[in-house]
Amino acid sequence: MNALHLMAELIFMPLIAFIVGMMMVLMMRKISARLQRRIGPPFFQPLYDIVKLYGKDTQISHGLIHDIGIIMAVGGYIGAEILLPVPGMEGIAAKGGVITLSYFLMIPSLGMALGVGQCANPNGSIGISRALTAMLAYDIPFILVVFGAAWHYQSTSLIGMIEYQQVHQWGIVEMPLLAIAGLFALQGMLGKQPFEIYIAPAEIATGPMVEMSGKYMGGLFVMQTFQLYTAGVLYASLFLGGGTSFLTLLPKAFLVVALPMSIAFMFPRYKTEDVIRILWKWPVMLGLISLAFIL
Amino acid sequence: MNSLVLLMVLPLFAAFIIPVVAKFSSKLALFTGPVVLCINLLLIMSAWVKVGSGAHAIFLGGFLPPVGIVFYIDHFSLLFSGLIASMVLIVWPWDAKESRLYSLYMLLSAASFGLALSADLFNLYVFYELLAVATYGIIAKQKNSSATAASLRYLFISSAGSVMLLLGIAIIYTLTGTLNIAHLATMTENLHGFAGLSAFALIAIGAGVKAEMFPVNSWVAEVYGTIPRQLSALLAGLISKLAVVLIIKMLLMVFQVQAAFDLLLVVGMLGVISGEMVAWRAKDMIRMLSFSSIAHLGVLFIALSIGGSKGLWLAIAIMLHHLLVKGGLFLMADRFSGHFDKLKGLAHHSPMSAAVFLVFILSLLGVPPLPGFWIKMALVMNLAELGGGLYYLAIGVILLATIIETAYMFNLVQTMYLKADADSTPLNKRYSASYTFAKLFALLLLVSMVFVSPISKRLKDIANHSANPQIYIHTVLPARYLGEKS
């Protein structure tokens, strides 16, 4: 791991994540448009949005913790991207296993929660309490999936999992039920339509993002790109054998993200307790059944 | 050695002289009692030195053993007589109005000395009755109606008890033809049948009335509630122990058999549980202390059921510890008593009395450095060594009792340390002898904490000496008589 390689990984991994993430956001908005028989936004729309938000002349802040919250949100995800193995750049990913990665995904939500907390806006606080409850809901099936995968591949490092899958069949072939449970959990993780109670625009004015203006909102848009990218690549490396090169990894990642998106825009929004009830019932049951097979 | 008879004679004589002396000068009457007791104390000390490690028997009136009255002097009985003398001195009612109370106290001490020393059944029974009569008299002395009701109830129960005691002695007499304990000790085999055991049961329950044994101790709460605190300290602390001594004499010398031990064990356990449970609900200080003393006597019976010198040693240790703690607590109750709520905020008025109270409680519960812990530990260890389901049940009962004790004792302590508010009674701050004696007891307890091992060694010797029947028989029955027999 010479210094140059390290520097390359540190800089390029988040960049790749950002670019691929933006393409995923575009795909998401195109899918929702197509489903509503609309044309949908132009190709570079996510880039325009982010640059416009960062280019705003004035933005308001409610205090130092508000700024630090957004920094933690973006920084947490940048850390998570570096831990996510990408073909050709696995140096650092070897250092932290899948448990560390799942914890890294919790840091941004906690950071954002702190930032929104200081905005002293009741809509934000209600949104955050729902976001954390939703996190509680989707993390149980997600952890079950991670447990099953780690147990099946006998290692917690993602690189080990990918090598295992290159040799044997893909994870989805050997653990179909677990893969479905993983998809369900992914639906909750991405925080899109059916489990989007914490951004309910009409009810609590986009929940946590109520006081985010200018570069703060830009930070959250960047976080969304990272979120989609991480979900896609993580699922791909867990179940679809990860890619030896970008050409094989990216289509899988895009497919993995496209599936929940197309489901998402068909659904209205669940109440908070229904989110928990559903995410604790079906994916957990699927996960346990498949674990029974694996163990 | 024969001067020891004076121990019993002097108080009797004083008991009848005091009313006459009181005619001339009440002050002289006041002091005759304590003077007599001091003389007795001196006699006991000299006897203690003379007896050394051996034992001595006094045959009254020159009659030879199986017939006459025998006094058996050894460290065990001297220890108890010493305790009697000092306890009666401590609780002496200096401010009693008329002299009849003094004579009753003299009668009481005489009976106690008799019980401690005499070595034959009938004599024991006589002194037991004398003791009962003396206590009725003292209890009835109180003016209020509840005292008379309590003494009436006590009269009924103890008379029934003494009837049972007499019946037991009668059965033994019919079986063996003799009443001298040493003589009985030589012919134990025909006493071990069913009749013998039922006799032992009768004697135990008969003496149990005074020793607050389970079925027959319902008088305890009422009597202690109404009589003055010093007297209840004497009764709970010492007199109950004398009744137990009676049982011990029978148990050790004659009835060293498993059935007897089991009887005592069961009765002890019932006593412990009933005492603790009711104490847990008690809302009044005196009622709580009396039921707690019932419980502790239950523990004493359990210790006795171990049998042999180990059992006796533990019993003595428990008796002494209970005397100090329960006696001290009752003496303390003189300063503050009554319903718990009235004790709120007591610790802020006089931190000293609260501290003393705390020391007594901690030793009662068996908190490590204090002697209570070592006694409880030794008791539980010995019970475990005996093995067997019943003994483990006994351990369980003792420890459960400790937990319940913690609960209600510390409820009381907690109310003490709360902020005082309107309706808590002000402490009667006037100087009272019993409070100083309570502090003395506490001091004794703390001092004994340091010398635990030497004291325990001394008690072990006493127990070994007095627990084996052979020494007893040889001292009481002269070799001549024995030679013929064997």
């Binding site: 960062y54 004035t58 933005q59 308001i60 802040s61 409610h62 913790i65 920084g75 947490g76 850390g79 998570a80 650092i92 250092k95 296993g97 560390t100 919790m106 929660a113 907390g117 200081q118 002293a120 806006n121 009741p122 606080s125 955050i128 309490s129 954390l132 409850t133 996190m135 509680l136 079950l144 447990f147 147990w151 290692s155 490092s157 200018g214 570069k215 830009g218 930070g219 908070t272 307790e273 009830r277 163990l295 | 009924f156 069913f194 009749a195 039922s198 009768l202 079925p215 319902s218 549980i273 449970m277 009711v278 847990w280 519960l365 490590p368 351990i395 400790t402 937990i403 409820n411 907690q414």
Partner: protein, 629 residues
């Protein structure tokens, strides 16, 4: 006079010194110095923590045929160092301005200092015990010492909960006594080795009885599930930094004894042999631990008093320690042991922050606070580091020990336990955010406008503890050698470690790299935030979007009550009584019996009983005479 004797003498002399000087003003200066002195004495014995052999004390007592002697192993040293650091921090916290306010508020300050030193002395005594009897004596001392600490606060509820605690503690002590007696009865010796010898000879049922008794005794002190009802209320009501000390280490003495007795002498083989192959003792203990992580955490979620919330978390985290230890493999036990130190550090820091908030605002009720971050920024920083540690997120030490526990659950293939532990962690994250949000974030109330930061005498210990939380998180290698030597002394497989973390065949953990990446991410995020975006204008809290409504100061719109309504709809009904029924049932049985016995004593016809007895005796006599004659 070995080093251990020096330690005992120094601790005892400190006890005497403080008890003498406790009501004089110089106790504020003296107490921290004394604790520092004891800490130095302990550090001198550090060789035992780096693989050295145990220190034997020259004292030995022979009472009533029981021999007692004292020794200091790596395990006792590890717990002792945590106790001393926690005691030093709370002493410094106590002796400054908080002490002055406590004195003016009518509290008995001298007694609190005395209680702290008594606690430390009894804990050192327990940790140094060499055989079962000295263990028991130390155990009683510790129970009574923490009772003394709890009973000091003037409120009536505190005294009631203290009495409830002492009853629980005495039950535990009695259970321990029965176990010791069972061991002693076999071959009359109270040495620790006896436990394994006796356990081997014992029949199946008495084995179960022995293990259950031992576990009940230690579980009560540690507040594991069936006996957890006393701990939260008792620790929450203890005055100020006393709660910090008790919360941090007092209940972990149960963990010390579990490791010492059950893990070291009964061991995995013993536990597995007890009970059927499927439901053996190890799975039972594991499930008690798992339930202890979940249930108290979700009770904590409902509390609206900050101290109560933290106390309930103390109970919950105890479950992690047991879960780690009960796995008996190198990383699991390392996780359990390390969690003791980690939890002690951030629990003490969090309790101190709550006390600091109470010092300034007078209340710890989460529904009456809010927006204090601008007024008390340093306290906020300490609480932030504390809650990151408590929630177990990367840069802090809580993450390392939780990672170890998860890793061992993964290796041992325990999916249900794994999910239970994760449920506990997520519950912690939720309730911990509620804590920091309701006190420090959100709308600042009118009455707290001029609240200022707490004085330095309270800040220094808090910041010190949070530095410990961060350092041991960033470089867990600092304390892993201690844990390795403990594992070795207790007979567990030793963990392979380096400064950054743990090497493990199938995926280790390197905290230096992980934290490095995290801080690199934060750096890049800050870079993006400050350089790409323009200047941002700070605005007042009333300049807020409220659907076009003009916000004014008399409207209180800080969202704090019923913070997780969705979750509470779903699981709220299960937790209403928070298992209070468990306790009430025992009490009602007890009072039933006592009423029953009381009636016996009040019954008017005891004489009847006697007469029946007499008649029986007569019958026996008649029968006997018939036979005898």
């Amino acid at each position: 006079m070995t080093l251990l004797d020096h330690l005992f003498i120094v601790v005892f002399s400190c006890l005497i010194a403080i008890s003498v000087v406790r009501n004089l003003p110089i106790v504020d200066k003296l107490a921290p110095v004394l604790y520092g002195l004891i800490l130095i004495m302990l550090v001198r014995m550090a060789s035992v923590a780096y693989g050295g052999d145990a220190y034997l004390s020259s004292f030995s007592l022979d009472l009533l045929g029981f021999k007692m002697h004292w020794q200091f192993t790596a395990l006792s040293w590890y717990f002792a160092i945590i106790t001393l650091v926690a005691a030093l921090a709370s002493a410094v916290f106590m002796s400054g301005d908080w002490g002055r306010q406590y004195r003016e508020g009518g509290g008995n300050y001298g007694m609190l200092q005395l209680a702290l030193i008594v606690n430390v002395f009894s804990m050192i005594l327990l940790l140094g015990s060499g055989d079962l009897l000295s263990l028991f004596i130390g155990w009683e001392f510790v129970s009574w010492a923490s009772f003394l600490m709890m009973v000091l606060s003037p409120s009536k509820l505190a005294k009631k909960s203290a009495v409830k605690y002492i009853v629980y503690a005495m039950t535990g002590a009695m259970a321990l006594m029965v176990a010791i007696v069972m061991i002693y009865a076999v071959n009359d010796s109270l040495e620790f080795e006896q436990i394994s010898i006796v356990f081997a000879q014992m029949s199946g049922s008495s084995q179960v009885a022995l293990v259950l008794l031992l576990f009940v005794a230690f579980a009560i002190k540690m507040g594991l599930l069936p006996f957890h009802l006393w701990q939260a209320v008792a620790y929450a009501e203890t005055p100020g930094p006393g709660a910090a000390f008790l919360g941090a280490i007092s209940s972990r003495m149960g963990m010390f004894t579990i490791v010492l007795v059950i893990v070291q002498f009964i061991g995995l083989g013993g536990l597995k042999s007890v009970g059927t192959s499927f439901a053996n003792m190890q799975t039972l203990l594991a499930w008690v631990a798992a339930l202890t992580t979940i249930i108290p955490t979700y009770i904590a979620l409902q509390q609206h008093d900050a101290k109560r919330l933290l106390a309930w978390h103390g109970v919950g985290q105890g479950g992690y320690m047991l879960l780690g230890i009960i796995m008996f493999d190198s990383i699991g036990s390392a996780g359990g042991l390390m969690h003791v130190l980690n939890h002690a550090s951030y629990q003490a820091a969090l309790f101190m922050t709550v006390v600091a908030v109470m010092y300034r605002t007078g209340t710890s009720d989460l529904n009456k606070l809010g927006g204090l971050v601008t007024q008390m920024p340093l306290t906020f920083l300490v609480m932030l580091i504390g809650i990151i540690g408590l929630a177990g997120l990367p840069p802090m030490n809580g993450f390392v020990s939780k990672w170890l526990v998860y890793r061992s659950l993964l290796v041992n293939g325990q999916p249900l336990l794994f999910v239970a532990a994760v449920l506990g962690t997520l519950g912690t994250i939720l309730s911990v955010y509620k804590l920091i949000h309701n006190t420090f974030l959100g709308q600042l109330r009118l009455e707290h406008q001029n609240v200022r930061e707490v004085p330095w005498s309270m800040l220094v210990p808090m910041l010190g503890l949070s530095v410990i939380v961060f350092i041991t998180g960033f470089m867990p290698g600092l304390i892993l050698p201690w844990i390795a030597s403990v594992q070795e002394s207790v007979g567990l497989p030793v963990i392979a470690h380096h400064l950054g973390g743990i090497e493990y065949a199938k995926g280790g953990l390197d905290m230096i790299w992980v934290s490095g990446i995290l801080f690199y991410g934060f750096g890049v995020g800050a870079l993006i935030f400050y350089f790409l975006g323009g200047k941002s204008k700070r605005v007042h809290q009333y300049d807020n979007y409220a659907g076009g409504h003009f916000l004014t100061s008399d409207v209180r719109y800080h969202y704090s009550n019923n913070f997780y309504p969705g979750l509470m709809h779903l699981i709220g009904t299960w937790y209403r009584g928070s298992f209070q029924w468990l306790e009430n049932s025992i009490v009602s049985v007890m009072s039933f019996f006592s009423v029953f016995f009381e009636n016996i004593y009040r019954a008017k016809q005891p004489v009847m009983l006697l007469l029946i007895g007499v008649v029986l005796a007569l019958l026996a006599l008649y029968r006997n005479l018939g036979v005898g004659a």
